[in-house]
Subunit: 364 residues, 4 copies
């Protein structure tokens, strides 16, 4: 199968660096354009970037001449992965879509757009039907293939909804949902990133905008597409109440969430039924044979003291989500601890798996 | 006023070391006996201890010859502060009480005894009336002053109930209560203490027995003494449901708790009423002029990102509790972040303040 | 004695915040002017600053209206403590001196000036004779009191030279000196400060310009004033060779240095003579009764595993330096571990103690 | 080629767990016996171990029934990897050798024996000639193949000597050598491991026995075998003086060392010659095509702020050593920063690569 040409926007940032690593030697994609600010454009990538990954910068990527973030520079790309900062993503991504390009973005700017899918690629891949419909409609009209954008969800939302979706599909809607997050600092990027003095022997019990993102995005992701596949029926507060409390902790990678939930239907399932449902779940990306899809989507851990970020974040290369301490809750039905890799399933990795899904579904 | 003679059980351990520091130059107490295991007994304290405090070992304490933990050795003490490990505390503390001694213990062994007060000294000091009654009864009968034990609460319970008690007193009972804790490692002591490899770049989402302690102790502390002052009316699950999720994090001192709660009475107070109630609260120990009592019992913080353990744990020398991010909750009434100093108000410091209260209330 | 009026330049930064804390309730100084960038000028200090100290912002300082950093605004100050960033300190401090003001600066800009004393206030206070001479000369000529600047040394230099000076005074010159530093992140300030992701589970074996500062400043501080007290006889490479290797580590406050040294004179003193010399040393600031001067200048620790930053950095409120593991070295004469508090004796605290020395020596 | 049967002593400990991971799916070895204390013997390995690796316990290893540490239980093993604690290793390893078994041990007990090679497998593999001679001699006499032991070096010694050996081979002997180490906590094992409270916001400037190990082992490893290949000519203090200062820091894996050295021969090589020598070095294990041997033995880094443990410890799966900041030293000839993975090239990984060398050299 021919390799799809992939571009990366925001290539020198932390998300951009991860995109490059994941695209290096990828069986489906060929990294062809790296876009960054005009300060970097024109330089070799290796001279423009302060590389901060634990894997070495792939030699071939280092030699790429960095481009400006213009649709013209990316015009041959089958898909463009955007790691742009929200301050810049708005107009650039819009211009790309208008130029007919396919954008998979980690920025928050378009997540709430009525026709933009907000995708956790091990969770709500059915939402991609909006895009399939859009492409099919254009084809039926004889129009050229339309540009579109797909948004990657917020990192702490991704970990939260991953185990919830199979539960909702099996046991019916969740009514009440609380999560207290203990979030890694890698999400804050590199320049300057989260200050060391604020996290050493410390916790910061606040992440700007994060609680609102979790509370809103969960309702879009756990909702359905509308009846004519042109938008989303976002859950209302009556359907689902979500309460989030977010903390930044001294962890490099891996978001831990202490979750409690109550199902709408009575009687609620048993603890064992919940565990079995999670163990049995195979996400669509895995069923479709996507390269990066996890072998086991949800890992149910039985040890009292797991999951732990340092020990469990790399399950299935960070694409698998770990759930432990599933037990009855004195107030809601269940409580549990969820661990997800924030820079994989919660950011760049999710983008790449979405790209693989677009291929598997013949969208690109 | 004559100094009361104080003894310390478990003097070489982490809680014992804190007792010694706090008793050094204390205006009410004179440190007179240090008890430890027979391995240490007979040595000078400075030769028996591996001192691990940020303040230097007080010179005079270093010269004390360590005693065995027998009532005989402590017979002249007006009060004995026990930092014994739970594995040893049971029979030793029992023998002390039977010998007529007054024990203030950090161990968990007798917390659930029906006639033993479980005290957070900025919170439920009314529970000491049980002891006053016991002493008065003996006096009335012409019996000699009885021995008794008072238990210090679990550290994460202390921080939790401190802001709840004034709220309950003002707005009526709390119905539903959830807390997700982010607990410091100092609570795990020194030998060997919590392993570094388990906490560096990591979280452990489990502390053995901790959730049960919070869920049970809260119901004793927020309950009342019974009508004849001989025991406690512990709250039932119908009165109050508590759900706790406990995590160990990379913080040296200071437990952070993400709390949510619902009052029984409707309408619930406003956010501003809750804040004002906490700001106005002056605990009894402060009213009585106890030496270590906090000037401000509850610090209400208005900054989005506070309280933080490194910045706020030392308020009022660790005897004040900080509460921030008080806001409405989509599911219960309110959510907030509570920070308390686990080795002060949650352990040794609480013991000393209880000792001061015993003096202020003419019990010792 | 009348309080001296003190001003602070760079008042919102990390060094400035420390100056304000130390000046609050100081027996010698009255905090009268706070200067910051024009972005802050005109605001109340509490509204201009992001306060990040473990002690609360003193109420009265919070109400001060921030001034521009002009000599006019500080014209009534007896002394101005500068926490300005090196990018701004140059012209501002120069203008202050030209206007006749006394500046004690933490910035590096004027440290190498031939007539500017570079002072560690527990070490080379004899260097202040340059200033005494300058003031006396002006007085003799009937000129008005001249402005001048005194520089605080680099933080890691301060800790290094503190134990060396008494050794040199007693045993003669040091010939060869090596130090490998393990430096705290607080030195990197707050905005943005040292990135958390670079220090969590990590070491950065490089601090820009730091090794050069140690190697050069040590030669000025351990040197003498020249014969007519108008400048300094800086040690040459032939007098003293210094080799530094600097690392940033996951410590909030407190620089640890692994030092080795060789004396010029043979035979070298014994280990016990070295220890005794350090124990006996009483710095001039202590002899003069300066308020912040350490009771014990150098703490010699005998335990194998000390000093440790978390346990020992607060000795004498951070003005005392701890030295441990003093032992023979197979290559040079001795090796030892030195711990100093980088934001106290290595920065703002040093400035305040220099101010106290200026009073004690009747210079201001 | 037939798989060699491998046993692991101390299988439940931290080094033992690493041996098991590395032997799982190894192309040369088949894991056949797991030995541990009698508390564990008889249980399935998965029930005996508290598995603390970031990779999951290999399923097949989990099912192995744990044996006692007796030669009888291991009698079919071609090689036995020992992760025993030094408190137990002495008599057990001795019994194994006497029973004719081949032991590769991480324990320190036999490192100083005159006929026991102390091997860093990317460094002094020529020392294995002692074993080849011993085996050949027995064969010549018609005796059965003798048992023997090979010791893995101390972890911080391994990282230190790795870049020194090629330098000595090219530029002649090193005269003076200093190293200040910043060592990871993983070396302290799991039960209980290094205490978290001692390493959070802290450094411990002491590791019991470590400085002596570095100073002695370096002289054995950089020395030669004697003329008849029956023992070692260990370097004397006149040949080489070594001075080490050891610190424990808040890093999980990866020892950083700040090294300085002086060659005996004048003129010393240039910085560029030193770098080129290190870049060009290909260790014998790599030349022999050993499975785990690093592709690049020594990585010379040019960035100012590298190597860093979190970013560079995994080079060549932890078998490659990184060297940065190579520069002239004002006192000795050169200084540099060396980073090595303490649990790979400094412990279990070294053992496995020694096993591969034994195969490549037809010793087993």
């Amino acid at each position: 199968m021919a390799l799809r040409k992939a571009g990366v926007l925001g290539a020198t940032g932390s998300v951009g660096q991860r995109f490059i690593l994941l695209l290096s030697d990828h069986p489906d994609f060929e990294l062809s354009v790296l876009g960054a600010s005009s300060r970097s454009a024109g330089k070799k990538y290796k001279d423009a970037v302060t590389w901060k990954q634990t894997s070495l910068l792939p030699k071939s990527s280092g030699e790429v001449i960095v481009s400006e973030c213009t649709p013209e520079a990316f015009k041959d790309c089958d898909v463009v992965f955007s790691g742009l900062d929200a301050d810049y993503a708005g107009p650039i991504e819009k211009a790309f879509v208008e130029a007919g390009l396919v954008v998979v973005s980690n920025a928050k700017n378009y997540r709430r757009e009525p026709d933009v899918p907000l995708i956790v690629p091990i969770t709500n891949t059915d939402h991609l039907s909006i895009i399939e419909k859009k492409v099919a409609t254009a084809a039926a009209k004889g129009e050229k293939k339309p540009g579109f954008i797909i948004c990657i969800s917020n990192c702490s939302t991704a970990g939260l909804v991953a185990p919830l979706k199979p539960l909702v599909d099996k046991f019916g809607p969740i009514d009440l949902l609380t999560t207290t997050t203990l979030q890694a600092i890698s999400g804050a990027g590199f320049s300057p990133g989260f200050p060391g003095i604020d996290i050493l022997d410390n916790i910061v019990p606040y992440i700007s905008g994060e609680e609102e993102k979790i509370e809103w995005e969960t309702k879009k992701i756990l909702g359905k597409t509308n009846s004519d596949n042109t938008g989303f029926d976002i859950l209302s507060d009556d359907d689902l109440k979500v309460s989030a409390q977010c903390n930044r902790v001294a962890v490099s990678d891996g978001h831990t969430e202490c979750v409690a939930l109550k199902f709408k239907n009575r009687p609620a399932p048993s603890v064992e039924e919940v565990k079995q449902c999670l163990r049995d779940f195979v996400c669509e990306a895995t069923q479709l044979g996507c390269h990066s899809a996890p072998k086991q989507t949800i890992h149910v851990l039985e040890e009292d003291d797991r999951p732990q970020p340092r020990l469990d974040r790399e399950r299935d290369n960070g694409y698998g989500v770990s759930v432990g301490r599933i037990r009855s809750d004195p107030i809601l039905d269940f409580k549990m601890v969820v661990l997800s890799h924030n820079t994989v399933i919660g950011a760049a990795g999710a983008g790449i798996l979405i790209g693989e899904l677009l291929i598997a579904k013949n969208i690109i």
